[in-house]
């Protein structure tokens, strides 16, 4: 059954699969239909090539400010925003924190890896995560050796990454998986002490027999991944996680079953995502109203929607970017500042389970942070050169046009009457004496509205 490519459904698809769509992009989905639009969104052939952190991985220090600017700029300008959105999904799924990892270039490498493998086979992805240097540090995997297995990674591998809490594995499976996963060690670059990856050291690996899911053998880490990803619990868990973060609601059993079947056949993440985005239930009213936009997603939505000029972290150092800050380029710290204010930094999830979901973003503390960030973003939108700037300025004083411009930039196709009157109240409050403040106020009110707070 084809899904109606109404403007509402088209905007919903672009807000969830990507970071929101401008009016021309929404109309394009309406024209070609949902299925063809999903094909285009998930076509990796147009994705920009992103490599190792060349400039960053050298001798220059690399800060979280640069890392976040790099990713937000990539996400906002990419011709394949759904590929970037998927990398962000995996970075939340495999939540890793810079506080413990310490090397930002390792976080960069991890994100590049997740982006490269994110649409492929899940077992390949999981094996790469097991070898990832940042993950090794984060969950103590490189400290787990024969005779002294550390359960941290083995437990989270099953609980958080592949099967779900208490879902088809036992404590004994965790202990045995920990033994199978022993022996990974960090490697550095030509003896410099700069961590660049991991290798498996045979002498530190437990070669003995392990019993996992009732089978016994001299298993290693890749065997553990293969055994896990062959299980139905894994297929259902990954289907649920993807629905959780893209749809937001509790999926019906039949939805989980459909998605798990699509995924389990070839362990293809592409199959899973494509099936989900073309499922009629994905466009149900409760799903359309069922997900709170995470702060970083909101930032990318605004940067993309209003063409805000984020500096190019691959080309410029922070010092250079600071010097070239002007009407055509925002200051280098600005992305980080917005994220900090709203409580989300790219490489700093609150714990190994990743970012909060839905209502946890709506308490009075978060709501206040969103308001402050909305004001700061409103200043940026009103200040920096962009194609939207002229249109916005010229719409001040014309309530209908201003709300239309804000909708266009925020990927919304309809406001509720409450929000529309709140925007009008904000916009009308300064018109005579200070149009600049009117614009900022209208922007901030729109940004904190349910229409934009919800993804």
């Amino acid at each position: 059954m084809a899904i109606d490519a109404t403007p509402r459904n088209a905007a919903h698809l672009l807000r969830r699969a990507a970071w929101g769509g401008r009016p021309d992009e929404i109309l394009q989905v309406v024209d070609v239909g949902i299925e063809a639009a999903v094909d285009a969104l998930l076509d990796p052939s147009q994705a920009p090539v992103v490599g190792e952190p060349v400039r960053f991985g050298g001798i220059e220090p690399y800060s979280p400010v640069e890392f976040e600017s790099w990713f937000v700029r990539l996400a906002a300008t990419s011709p394949t925003p759904a590929i970037e959105r998927l990398a962000w999904f995996w970075s939340g799924h495999f939540a890793t924190g810079i506080e413990k990892v310490e090397f930002v270039d390792l976080m960069h490498r991890q994100l590049v890896m997740l982006r490269r493998l994110g649409l492929g086979r899940f077992d390949d992805l999981l094996k790469a995560v097991t070898r990832d240097a940042a993950m090794n540090i984060w969950l103590d995997l490189n400290l787990s050796t024969v005779g002294n297995p550390n359960e941290n990674f083995a437990r989270e591998l099953m609980e958080l990454f592949s099967m779900g809490i208490d879902n088809g594995y036992t404590q004994s499976d965790v202990v045995n998986a920990a033994r199978a996963l022993t022996g990974y060690q960090l490697t550095d670059h030509e003896g410099t002490g700069r961590v660049v990856g991991t290798t498996l050291h045979a002498a530190l690996h437990d070669h003995g027999l392990k019993t996992l899911f009732g089978e016994t053998g001299p298993f290693d880490g890749d065997d553990v991944v293969d055994m896990i990803t062959n299980r139905r619990e894994c297929h259902e868990f990954i289907a649920r996680r993807m629905w959780h973060r893209y749809a937001g609601t509790s999926p019906a059993a039949q939805v989980v079953s459909t998605l798990a079947n699509a995924f389990g056949a070839r362990l293809s993440i592409d199959d899973l995502l494509r099936t989900m985005l073309t499922l009629p239930q994905f466009y149900d009213d409760d799903v359309q109203a069922g997900l709170v936009s995470q702060p970083l997603e909101s930032i990318v939505r605004v940067v993309r929607g209003f063409d805000l000029p984020v500096y190019d972290a691959e080309a410029l150092s922070i010092e250079e970017a600071d010097e070239t800050t002007g009407p055509n380029q925002m200051p280098p710290w600005i992305i980080e500042s917005w994220g900090e204010t709203m409580g989300q930094r790219l490489a700093s999830p609150p714990n190994v389970a990743g970012w909060p979901h839905n209502a946890a973003w709506l308490d009075s503390n978060r709501a206040a942070g969103r308001l402050v960030a909305g004001i700061e973003m409103g200043h940026a939108v009103a200040e920096y050169e962009s194609p939207a700037l002229e249109r916005l300025w010229s719409s001040i004083g014309d309530g209908a046009r201003l709300t239309a411009e804000l909708m266009a930039g925020m990927g919304v196709v309809e406001w509720t009457a409450e929000t529309e009157s709140a925007i009008a109240a904000a916009a009308g409050s300064h018109t005579v004496d200070d149009p600049y403040q009117s614009l900022v106020a209208a922007f901030a009110v729109a940004f904190t509205s349910p229409e934009v707070t919800l993804a």
Partner: protein, 454 residues
């Protein structure tokens, strides 16, 4: 790491003299003095007295009229990650302990002896003194009968106060809800994010930033009248985070909550109040370097300091929630554990000093999702089951509560046996401190612990 200080964007401040930091500080200060305003101390009067040379601390706060000054206040301290109780309350002269912990065993000579059986980790002098004063309860062996050894499942169970899924409310939220027919959201304050333990039926408690800095200061209002006007237009929309209603309603509710909290705590419209507040808080900001951020461990000190300000400010709040961690010491426990305990201990000492006379009203109670494995893993400890909790305050029934888990008999997964039901702990805590039926906190509690003196 030094984070570059954001310079103000054009237009954020037409007077061009106010840094962002200062802007935020006024916001935070207003949050605190708002409490004083509620307490009925006129801003003008405080200003006058400050002008006359009175020190900030002389400008004392009187309690709010509807606050009973003898009501006990619960400060819930969540020790995230799973506290290793065995290296916190250490058995004395125990060969069995040394066998289990090997290289990870605490040196007996460094312990602070509690009695003939146990000694505290050396990083806990404040708790040790409280024990000697009879103001500390050590509650042994508390855990979940359905533990999965997962941080998240077990933390959720603790926050719910029940083994079953329930209705999404938390143990503190339900207990606070039982205190009044029409609950003021300020009855519960969560520092940082809103703890799910404070989700009430149909409402959510207030969450404040770690530093108490709300945006809704007098300066904020002055600079953003358009937004204030627009938010006024949203009045009358119900909904609170954590309440069982649609997300869109909850967004509206959170917008209104920001406004409500600002009105009550922040004092949105009185410029004088903000000015007075700046003076009041000048001392505290001294010595704080631009761009310097406290480590995550040190944050417990900031959080409890803010709680002390709010209590001293006479808020109607009966329960606060703060977090401290991360106690998930799988690796390098020998290095991190003393810091984690020491920061907690110092934070509690400073907190009680700052509270002054109000310390008599405060009960500090810890909870942690589980303890850790008896065996040392070579570098730290993996997830366990039974945990030890601490309750501290002048009204606490000091001493050992419950039975320590046996040291020589473990469960099927080589973990300590649970000897106390977490529901009896939470039920006893809330009935003792808040005076409500323990079944609100913990449906099904059978023997609520007697932790608070009647």
């Amino acid at each position: 790491m030094t984070i570059p200080s954001p310079h103000p964007l054009p237009g954020t401040d037409q007077r061009a003299t106010m840094s962002r930091r200062r802007f935020l500080r006024i916001g935070g200060a207003a949050a605190i003095t708002g409490a004083a305003a509620v307490a009925g101390v006129a801003a003008a009067d405080r200003l006058r007295r400050l002008d006359e040379g009175a020190s900030a601390t002389d400008v004392a706060y009187a309690p709010r009229a509807d606050v009973n000054p003898t009501d006990l206040i619960l400060v819930s301290v969540q020790l995230t990650g799973g506290l290793d109780f065995l290296n916190t309350v250490v058995p004395l002269d125990s060969g069995r302990y040394r066998d289990l912990r090997g290289a990870g065993a605490e040196d007996q000579a460094t312990l602070l002896p509690l009695d003939r059986q146990y000694g505290f980790h050396q990083s806990l002098p404040t708790l040790s003194q409280a024990w000697a004063d009879g103001e500390l309860a050590i509650v042994h062996g508390v855990g979940l009968s359905n533990s999965t050894l997962s941080h998240f499942a077990d933390t959720d169970t603790w926050a719910r106060g029940r083994l079953d899924v329930g209705d999404g409310t938390g143990w503190l939220g339900r207990s606070l809800d039982a205190l009044a027919a029409d609950v003021d959201p300020l009855i519960g304050v969560s520092i940082g994010g809103l703890s799910p333990s404070m989700y009430g039926p149909g409402w959510g408690a207030v969450a404040l930033p770690d530093d108490g800095r709300l945006p809704w200061s007098a300066e904020f209002v002055e600079e953003n009248p358009g937004i204030v006007a627009a938010y006024q237009g949203l009045l009358g929309v119900s909904g609170r985070p954590g309440a069982p209603m649609s997300l869109a309603e909850q967004v509206r509710g959170s917008q209104q909550l920001v406004r409500d909290v600002a009105d009550t705590v922040g004092g949105a419209t009185d410029l004088e109040r903000a000015a007075a507040a700046m003076e009041l808080f000048e001392d505290e900001d001294e010595g704080e370097e631009e761009g310097e951020e406290p480590s995550s461990e040190r944050l417990i000190g900031n959080r409890l300091s803010l709680v002390a300000d709010l209590i001293n400010g006479g808020l109607p709040t009966r329960a606060y929630h703060v977090v401290h961690g991360d106690f998930d010491t799988h690796a390098e426990q020998a290095a991190s554990f003393p810091l984690l305990l020491g920061d907690l201990d110092q934070a509690i000492a400073s907190f009680r000093t700052k509270l002054g006379a109000n310390a008599s009203r405060v009960v500090i109670a810890t909870w942690t999702e589980f303890g850790r494995r008896p065996d040392w893993n070579g570098n730290g400890t993996d997830h366990g089951t039974a945990g030890t909790q601490f309750v501290l305050g002048p009204s606490v029934v000091g001493g050992h509560h419950g039975e320590p888990p046996p040291m020589n008999r473990f469960d099927d997964e080589a973990n300590f046996l649970i000897t106390g039901d977490f529901r009896d702990y939470l039920g006893g805590l809330t009935s003792g401190v808040l005076g409500v039926d323990p079944n609100h906190a913990a449906p099904g509690t059978t023997r609520p612990m007697e932790l608070i003196r009647a």
